[in-house]
Amino acid sequence: MSRNMRLWLHGLGAAFIGGAATSLATVLVDSEKFNIDTLLGLQHLAFVAMVAGIVSAAGYLKQSPLPPVEDSRTAGSKLAALLVASLLLGSFGLAGCNDFERKTFQTLSASKALIDQAQIDYETGTIPHTQTSYDAINKAKDAQTAAVRAFQTYEAAKLSVNQNTDLTVQVAALNSALFSLGPAVAGVKHIYLGEQ
């Protein structure tokens, strides 16, 4: 196990224990229900400790989702769906590089996978069949469609004329569409995390 992994796990454990320890305060607030004298009291205390620990650990994961990876552009990425969002945002940040088209293609591939999966999860009832979910997924699909169309326009302009064609307008339009895609994908992430 690498040093970074050990430090990260140490921090995660510390966050969990710190959160769980705060549950001791419930003994002072309601010692009849939360105590260590009776089995029921202990169970109540243990349950609060577990929940508080998980909440605290989740807070830690939000700050430090993964152990730092050396020489990695994704060191600041977030866990789970947060990780996906940062992946996309990280890609947007790279969009200005000389591998602009490749990064755009990869970003749109990842966002398509996520949006299509969200649609499947919505239809199968894995995520709530609500107006909020419906709107968020449709918004993401619209943003994905707009970004792909902008990419098609860019590619068509590049291929159709000559090498000296100024693609500034097409690049700007594509970047704009990609930036709009970020919040739309984040909206889908919120469905999974149960946020409104």
Binding site: A80, S109, K112, Q117, Q119, Q131
Partner: protein
């Protein structure tokens, strides 16, 4: 570290976290049967999120080797099937 290697590392770490969390949740379910339902829900949410992340990352990595052509760009369009409206 190449982009693809980084993605593979993240996927691997995600799966590792999922496995570790499943072990912890299993212990919780065994030790505290009264919260078994909550732990099972947490486990399923974790599995869903891990699947989602893995799919997106795998698509991202796979796209690094896909030729960029009009056809491959068109394939990035989202699923054309309209969503079922809520309540229907």
């Amino acid at each position: 570290m190449s982009n693809q290697t980084t993605v593979a590392t993240i996927i691997s770490t995600t799966e590792e976290i999922q496995r570790d969390a499943a072990v912890v949740l299993e212990i919780i379910k065994t030790s505290y049967p009264q919260v078994m339902d909550e732990a099972a829900i947490a486990e399923s949410i974790l599995a869903i999120l891990a699947t989602l992340v893995t799919k997106a990352l795998a698509a991202y990595a796979a796209a690094s080797g896909t030729p960029i052509t009009p056809a491959s760009i068109a394939s990035l369009m989202p699923n054309p099937t309209p969503l079922t409206a809520p309540g229907s």
